[in-house]
Symmetry: D2
Subunit: 257 residues, 4 copies
């Protein structure tokens, strides 16, 4: 069976600026995530903000089934051209898994069409997650509820579109709730937002979190569908009316593009 | 302006069986709710389980814009005929506001098509509600977050259909979260589920809760639409093809029923 | 790999009452459908209305991954007990594929919560279907558009819940449109409605229709998830507060049921 | 009662380039639409592509309840700054009604997060629209079905998000179907896409189309909600824990922005 090809993108700034964070993620958050996904049987590579084309040129995306995204300090430094390119790939079938403060990344806001604002508080408080959609593939093998002992609070209201399927909801010690795992479909692509993963806590070392991310990558991977060849010229109405029953019209119609 | 006609239904058993509960709701939960809705400008009546036809014969429903439902101990004693009748009225435009343990009523499960199960615990713990959809009519004038000091816990997972619009989410002291206010549309009717209202706490005396229920009734009230006359005979294809541009076909087509 | 176990249910009245229909489906509509699904690698059985328990006792449903449903003349003769039983199985994960006039069956209306009315006309007119969600599993391998040369018209408005994912839309020669393939999720179960299949036309002999039904059965089959053991007693709040980080609470909480 | 303030935006190129189109819309498509909306009791203004800031500077949008958008030839000439500004206003509550080839405008694609592609054909063929959601405000007073005698064909598949509520569906003489009227909510704003309105046909002179656009503007207008003041500093967990029951926390929490 073919391995899923995952590219883990990280802005990779916190780890270089803070010894404390570097101690938690010595190979970067991207290195940590790529490591456990590889151990779970995926083919992984990493990409970071400071690389040419933010590490995401056309050929890298062409060779990516699922893109995992972690960013926080420097959303504005991702070029619009890269955002356009990633969006195009997602709409054509590439999966996108957006983590934590990536809710505010250009690419997530682009895919949602909204500002993706939320309430937040850094108090190292307890977060308890609940599985809301227990039969969804992303929840397979995950306990009905589990705890992150210390985490940044992300709270409602969170202005995302209504068609997101809620997989996880979070409870915070300080009194907030949050839709912490939400799954979207956009054209041929799948998008999953998952809020855990603040850089000052070892969240991605947690085996439950690792299993969720593995599930999410498998869910988001393209199903193998090959889009029809898309012709470029409009057709005469005569052509479309002369159909053969049960035969496709795909050579006689077109996508506007 | 025409007043909204509200019928408040209550199984009305707890108040007769417990002095403690009767002290909180001396006129019954239905009396309390009808009272504050009337004060808010609505025309109210009440109906209870032990009445003929469970208090909901055809003529009562014909004269009802919005039905409010509170039940707990005796869901099974509501007759299937009444459930059928209420469902028919909702699909034709009557609003339905289902409260607290009414999540498990025959009529709510009928409207949802699911079992409407949830987790629960009676510990008199604090419940904090958050407004998740701040621009929804049901949230107008409601603070972004507010507390019920002591309440029964209702928790996820809650197996309702995905197209419910989430207006409120709850946080519980003991560690649970819940979609506590969810709005559905079913054919011409609107359905709102709102979880606060355990019988041993004075929840319906709370002015914020009262405002939410008033908002919910106004939202659920029919918009005044009069369904087209529905003819009973199929039409010949010739008829439907002889249309006049921009004229309705409503005399030449039919609902299957 | 384990075969998917399919039970094809048919009221099986038309074929016994009409020589013309018996000529199209000599082994019944159920026999035809079971035949091509078996050829596609599934383990099939059939069940019909006149059998004991309408052919669907507990042990049959326990051994069914996906139930296919065709009914038309005798929806009212399916017992409510059977409808309750089928609904319970669907909510626990059994797939349900409802065909053609099954839109008006008790079980489909139960799952939807609406009346499931539509407009119709028998004129043997041309129906053209379009794939609206080309990357959905049910559309795999299906041409973007194809024709049923002669069919009964089913038209909008169709009063189903909004969370159905539209896979196919139909165009009719006489001027109507219809959401002819719609996919729902309800708790752990999946439901697909597909409108083609009027008894007087050889629709189920069409290889494109056969592929769609095979796809639908594979999509609706349960993913293998085993629900958690559900305990029956409420828990004290102390218990739920003494959680171990990252451990499930499933022995200390309960479903209300 | 306060009038709804509508700004009708048109790229205004076709009418200047083609005598045939100018004859249909002597005051521009924007002039025609603004005219009948004004006659319906709204306060209207117009804006066009070639004006400074594409006619949509901050003060114009600040004074707009609903923006109507018609564009076709020059989507790329609308500045990204204007698109950002319109999106911000929509998310804060301004309604947006996007017409015909505006499906491919920067602002509609921004709000949707998808490419918004569709199939099309110019053959002057008959389009029949059906009301799919008869109780929706946008469908009030509209016949269940009506015809545009000659129109450009827009057909499925149309890659918009799943949470759009389908109000109208179209049938085309040549064999296509289309979701021709779809309503979205995005944060505090409402977005309605309506496909009729090709420049070479007098579609906006049709009284049924005019009523639909009037309904759409009234539906999309903001409900009068004033967002809470949003503070800019995070709060300590102690603050959020010291809540007063039933009092808002709005001074102690914040939106991340």
């Amino acid at each position: 069976m073919k391995k899923i090809k995952v590219t883990v993108w990280n802005e990779y700034l916190h780890e270089l600026q803070s010894e404390e964070i570097a101690a938690i993620y010595p190979e970067g958050i991207h290195g940590c995530i790529a490591g456990f996904l590889q151990a779970a049987g995926m083919e992984t590579r990493t990409a970071t903000l400071r690389q040419v084309d933010n590490g995401l040129p056309q050929d890298v995306l062409d060779a990516t089934d699922v893109l995992v995204w972690w960013g926080h300090l420097a959303h504005g430094q991702v070029s619009d051209e890269v955002v356009d390119r990633v969006q195009r790939h997602v709409l054509q079938g590439m999966g996108l898994v957006v983590l934590h403060s990536g809710h505010f990344s250009k690419i997530f806001r682009r895919m949602m069409g909204t500002a993706c604002r939320l309430r937040w508080r850094e108090a190292g408080e307890k977060e308890r997650l609940w599985v809301v959609a227990p039969s969804h593939p992303i929840a397979q093998g995950i306990p009905e509820t589990f705890v992150i002992p210390h985490h940044e609070m992300y709270g409602e209201p969170f202005d995302i579109p209504q068609d997101g399927k809620i997989i996880f909801q979070s409870w915070f010690e300080g009194g907030n709730v949050f839709r912490s795992g939400v799954a979207f479909e956009r054209d041929r692509g799948k998008v999953f937002y998952f809020s855990p993963g603040h850089e000052t806590f070892p969240v991605y070392h947690d085996p439950v979190i690792q299993q969720i991310l593995g599930n999410a990558v498998r869910w988001a991977a393209p199903s193998g569908y090959v889009p029809d060849r898309i012709t470029r010229q409009p057709v005469s109405p005569e052509t479309i009316r002369t159909e053969n029953p049960l035969k496709s019209l795909d050579t006689t119609a077109l996508h506007k593009s």
